[in-house]
Amino acid sequence: MFHRRLALLAGLMLIPAALPAGRLLQLTIAKNEDLRAEAESRLLDQRWQPTTRGRILDRKDRVLAQDKPSFDVMVDYSVITGQWAFAQAAREARRQAGGQTWRSLSPVQREERIQQLLPTYRKRLDDGWAALARATETPIEEIEARRSDIMQQVSRAASRVWELRRQAREDDLARGLALSGDPTIDTIDGLDVPIAEFERPIREQVSAHAVLRGISDEAAFRLPPEVLEAPGLRSARTSDARRAAEARGDILPTLRVVDSALRLYPMEALSVEVPADRFPGPLRSEQTATINVFGSLTQIVGWMRDRVFAEDEQRRPRITADGRVDRGFYMPGDSVGHWGIEGGHEDELRGLRGLITEQLDTSEIDTEPRTPGKDIKLTIDANLQARIAALCSPDLGLTTVQPWQRNRATPVGTNLNAAAVIVEVDTGDILAMVSTPTFTLDDVRERPESVFINDPILSPAVNRAAGKPYAPGSIVKPLLFCAAVSAGVWEPDRRVACNGHLLPDRPNLFRCWVFKPPFNTTHDALLGGALSAQEALAVSCNIYFYQVGRALGPDGVSEWYGRFGVGNDPRVARPTLRLTGSPVFAGSAGAISPDSPLSADDQIEMGEPNAVTQTAPPRARRGVTPSEATLMGIGQGPVAWTPLHAADAYATLARSGLRIVPRLRMDEPLRSINLGLNPRSVAIALEGLSKAVNDERGTGHHITVDWPDGARRENIFTAPGVQVWGKSGTADSGQKARDAQGRLLADDRGQAISLDHAWFVVLAGRAGENRPRYAVAVLVEFGGSGGRIAGPLTNQILLALKAEGYL
C-alpha cells in the first residue's frame, strides 16, 4: 500500500504543476514579443528637445511674432511643494538608524527622528530659493507666486485625474458586480477599495516644472554651471560639487536650466506720426501728432498661453491613430497658440520636437532632430495697420462725435468704435484689418475683465472688421444695381422718378432719405427729373434702389448677396482667415434665426401680405418677403455684413465681377469666381461711384463744417494723386437713441431717433490710371452720417496708403 500511496503522492505533486507550466508557456511563447518589447522599452531613456516656433511676418517681412531663445528654470515638484525636505529627512533618519533598527521603530518614533532632521533640509530649500532669486534678479515674491500657481494647477489636475480613476474603478467593480448576477448587490460599499488605488501620483506630481520662464543668458550664466542641462546626455549621478553646493544652499535641489524660447511681439507697440494738415474742420492742424499705438495687431496675431488644455491634447494626442508618436504632442508646461493666427495656425507654427533616445545599457544615443515651425507671412502691412489704428485714436478726434457732424443721437465728445479693411483689388490680399478699440497682451494678462466683456458693443475683443455684423445701408446700392442688370430684371439705362416715397398712397413707407419734413424734398426736384443709375448712386436715392430690390425679388436679392460672399450657404466661398478667438462672421442675407425676434421696427406693413404678423408662428425661417427684398435693395432689412464683406464686394466690382476671395496669408492660393456681372452695369456703377465722391451733388463729396463765421463746405477726399470711387452709407442699426436716464430721444416730429452706423467704402487708384487698386471699407459704430463721419476717416486712410507707398 505504501508504494501505491507514494505513487499517488507523486502524481498529486505533478498535477498542480500543469497550471504554472501552461502559464509559463503562454508568457514565454505567446506573449514573448510584447513583453520583450516592453522590457526593452525600459532600457530607453527618451528626452524631448524643444523646437523653435515659426515666425509670423507681415507682407514686408517685418516680424510680428517670433521666438527668442531663452532659458527656463526647472525644479522638481517635490521641491516646489517642500515635500523634498521631508523625504530627505526621512532618508537620512533611516540611514542614521540603520535598516534593522529603523524597521523596528514605531511610526511615532520614526516621525520624531524625521522631525529632528527636517529643519536642516527646509533651510536648504529656503536658501536655494533665495539663491535663485538673487542669481536671476527676480523678486522672491514672484517666485513664491509662481510656486503657488504651479501647486494649484497640479492639484486641480490631480483631482480631475483621481476622480476619473475612481469613476473607472467603480465602473469596473459595477460591471463585476453585474456579472455576479446577485440582485442584492447594487453598491460597491461592501468592498474596501483603498484610496491609494486611485490616488496615485499623477505625472505632474513627479516631474519638473518651470518656476521661471524666459530668463536671460546673463541670468542663466549667473547660476552655477552644474545646473545647465547638456542636451543629449542622461543626467549623470549628482556630482560631488553639486551635492556640496546643494548642501550649502547655493543651488536648489533638482534645479536645472533648460533651453526654452520666449515669444516676442516686436510690433505690439508702435509710434505713429500723423500729419493733421488734411483733417476736417477744426481738427485740422499744421502740427504732426505722435500717436502711440498699442495692440493694433493683437486681434490678428493673437498670443500664447502657457497652459495646455484638455482639448489641445485631444486634438493632438501623443500617439496618433496609426500608432505613431506625434512629436508635436503637448506636454505640461508647453505654450500653446491662443487667439488669432497663433491659435488658428498652431499646428504649422508649432514645429516638431527633437527626440534623443539613449540606450541605457549600451549608452548609445540616437537623435531625431527637431523640426522648426513654419513661418507664416501675412498679407497685412503692419505699418499701415498701425497708421489706421492711430487715425482711430480718440486723441485725433476723427472717431469722436464733433459738433459739426450734427449727430442728434450721440452726445458730442463721445468716442466711437470703428473698423477698417483694405483689400488689394488685384490679389485679394487683406492689407489692413483694423478694429478699435483694441487691447494689448498686458491687458489680457493683467486686466482680462476689461477685454473679455460679454457685450458686443463694448468689448475690445470683438473683431469689428470681420467678426461683427452691421446693416450695410446704402453702400450695397451699386452692387445690387449690377446684380439686377446681370440678372436681366433691370435695364441699365432705366430712369426712376423719385417723389420721396415708393408707394404712391403711403408717404410714410419706403421713403427716400431726402424726403423729410417740412420741405419733403425729392431727388426729382433736386436733379430736375427721373434719375439715371449714376445719378441715383451719386445722390443715394432710395426710391431707385427700392425698385431694384423689388425687381430682383426675394430670391434674387438673397442669391446675389450670397454671390458677393454673404450668408451661410456652403457653396459661398468665404475667406479662411482661421483666427481663433474672435470668429469671422459669415454675414447674413435673409436668414433669420428662429431665436432672433424681429424688432417692432422690422414689422413694416407693406400694403401687401406680410408673413411676419403677430399671429404668425414666430421664428421658423420663412424666406425673404417681397417687402424685405425691397428694403434689402438699400441695404436695410434682414441683411448684415462686416467691413470685410464690403471691401471684398467692392473689389469684386472693381474687377468687373471677378471675385477673388480675400486672403490673409501670402501663401494661400488665390480662389476666384466670376460672378458674371454685366460689364455695362459695372461701368455705370463705377461712374456713379465716381460721381458720388467727385460731383458736388454726391453724398460723398463734401462735408459742411460749422465755423464761427459760418458753415463751410470741405471736400471729403483730398489725397493728391489719388483717384477715388466711393459710396457713403448711413445704416439703421435697429436701435434707438436714449438719454442717460434711458428715455428715448425724439426728433422734431416727435419720432424716436435711430442710431445709425456710418459707412464709407471706396475704391482708390492712382490718378490717371482709371483703375482701382484698393478697396477700402470703413465703419464707425453709431457714427450717424456715413459721409460726415466715415468719409474724413476714409480720406485719412487713403493718405496712409499713400504714405506707405501704395498709392
Binding site: R5, P20, I29
Partner: protein, 393 residues
C-alpha cells in the same frame, strides 16, 4: 557506542544523491541569478560576485556542511531528537511572539516577527519548525493505526496546528500554509483512508473563502490584485500589481532561450523588479535562460523529488519513510507556490524558491532536509523489518 550514534554501515548507492545533485545545481543557478539581479557586469571570478551572491555561496557551503553532518548520525538519534526539537521550535516560535522581547533580539521585518537576531546571522525558527514538525509527526505515526479512523486524523493535525498557528500569528501566512501539504502527504502515505482525506480537503476548500475577512488588508489586496490581473485589468499594474506584473514581463521577455547575460542584467536592473533575489528570483532565471531555463529549474525540483521519493520507496523504516515524504512535500509545495507566484497564477505570498533564493536560514534548512533524506537513504534496509503502512484500503 560510536556506532550506535554514527551510522557505520552505508548504502552508498542510493537515489538520495539525486537530491544532492539537484540541490547543488539549483543552488549554483541561484547564486548566478542573484548576481544577475545585483550587478550589471558578469563576474570574471568568484571574487567578483555581488556581495549578496558571495554570501549565498557561503550559505551554500554551510548548508553542504550541515547536510554532511546530518548524514552521519544514526536514524534513531534523529528520531530521539524529534520531540525535543519540536519542543524547542515551539518555544522559539512562542518567544518570537512575546511583545516584551526587545527589538534588538526579535527584529520585525515588514511587520513580521519571524527572525531572531544572532548578530552576524538571523535565525528563522519557522524554517526549523518545518523539520521539527516532520520528525515529530513521523515519530508519532510510525507504528500507529489510529489515523485510519477519521478522528485519528486529529492528533497529527494538532501536531501541525500548533506551529501553524504560531507562525500565522507572526504573521507569516506563506510559511504557515506549507505545513498543510506536508501533513497531508504524510497522512496519505501513512495509510489514512482516502475518503477521510477527501472530506478534509473538500471541507477546507469550502471553508477557505470564509477566511478572507480575517486576512490583513495587504493580504486581501494581493488576492484582489490577482483577480484583477486574471481579468486583464491593467489599472493596478503600476501599484499593487507592480511586482507581479514586472515579474511576468521579465519572464515573457526571456522567450524560449533567454536573453544574453549583459542584456538580461540591464533589463532586470531597469525593470526595477522588487525582491529580485529572493521571492521573484524565478523571473530572473527565466529572463536569463528563457523557457528552457524555467523548465530546467522545474526539472531539477522533480529530480530532487524523484530522488527523495525513491529513497522513501526503498526505505523500510516507517520513520524514515514519513520523514522523507514530509520533507519532500515542503520542498514541492514551496517550489510550486513560488513559481506560481512568479508566473501570475497565485497571489504573492512571500515564499522563497528553495535552494535558489537568497537567504541563510532557508538555504540551511533545505540542505538539512537534503541531509536528512540522504541520511535515511544511506542507512541500509534492516534485514528483518516488519512492513509499515501496509493496510488494506
Amino acid at each position: 557506542m560510536f556506532s550506535s550514534i554514527i551510522a557505520t554501515e552505508r548504502n552508498w548507492a542510493n537515489p538520495a544523491w539525486l537530491c544532492v545533485l539537484a540541490g547543488l545545481l539549483l543552488s549554483i543557478i541561484g547564486i548566478y541569478a542573484i548576481d544577475i539581479g545585483e550587478r550589471t557586469i558578469a563576474p570574471a571570478t568568484a571574487a567578483d560576485l555581488a556581495p549578496v551572491a558571495a554570501k549565498q555561496l557561503v550559505f551554500l557551503f554551510v548548508g553542504l556542511l550541515a547536510a554532511g553532518l546530518l548524514a552521519l548520525p544514526h536514524e534513531r538519534v534523529i528520531r530521539f531528537l524529534a520531540w525535543p526539537a519540536m519542543g524547542v521550535s515551539i518555544a522559539l516560535l512562542i518567544f518570537l511572539l512575546i511583545p516584551a522581547v526587545p527589538s534588538w533580539i526579535v527584529t520585525p521585518r515588514n511587520g513580521v516577527r519571524g527572525w531572531i537576531d544572532l548578530g552576524p546571522i538571523d535565525l528563522q525558527p519557522g524554517e526549523f519548525a518545518k523539520i521539527a514538525f516532520v520528525l515529530a509527526a513521523a515519530d508519532y505515526l510510525r507504528y500507529r493505526r489510529t489515523h485510519r479512523e477519521f478522528l485519528g486524523l486529529l492528533p497529527p493535525a494538532l501536531i501541525a496546528g500548533v506551529p501553524i498557528g504560531l507562525i500565522f500569528l507572526q504573521p507569516d501566512l506563506g510559511t504557515a500554509m506549507l505545513f498543510v501539504p506536508s501533513v497531508f502527504a504524510m497522512l496519505l502515505v501513512a495509510g489514512a483512508r482516502l475518503k477521510h482525506l477527501a472530506i478534509v480537503v473538500l471541507a477546507a476548500t469550502l471553508a477557505a473563502p470564509m477566511a478572507y475577512p480575517f486576512l490583513k488588508p495587504y493580504q486581501q489586496q494581493r488576492i484582489l490584485g490577482l483577480i484583477a490581473q486574471v481579468r486583464g485589468d491593467q489599472h493596478a499594474r503600476d501599484d499593487m500589481n507592480y511586482q507581479a506584473y514586472t515579474a511576468q514581463m521579465l519572464i515573457g521577455a526571456g522567450g524560449t532561450t533567454g536573453i544574453p547575460d549583459a542584456k538580461s542584467r540591464a533589463v532586470i536592473r531597469f525593470a526595477r523588479l522588487p525582491e529580485r533575489h529572493n521571492d521573484m528570483i524565478f523571473a530572473v532565471v527565466v529572463n536569463r535562460f528563457g523557457l528552457l531555463g524555467g523548465l530546467a529549474v522545474a526539472g531539477l525540483y522533480m529530480l530532487w523529488l524523484a530522488g527523495a521519493l525513491l529513497s522513501a520507496a526503498l526505505c523500510k523504516d516507517p520513520f524514515g519513510r514519513l520523514t522523507i515524504v514530509g520533507l519532500s512535500a515542503f520542498i514541492a509545495a514551496q517550489a510550486a507556490i513560488n513559481i506560481g507566484m512568479n508566473v501570475g497564477v497565485l497571489p504573492i505570498v512571500g515564499l522563497t524558491l528553495p535552494f535558489v533564493s537568497y537567504g541563510g536560514s532557508s538555504m540551511l534548512v533545505v540542505w538539512i532536509m537534503t541531509g536528512l533524506t540522504l541520511s535515511i537513504a544511506l542507512r541500509p534496509p534492516p534485514r528483518m523489518a516488519r512492513p509499515s503502512f501496509e493496510f488494506r484500503d
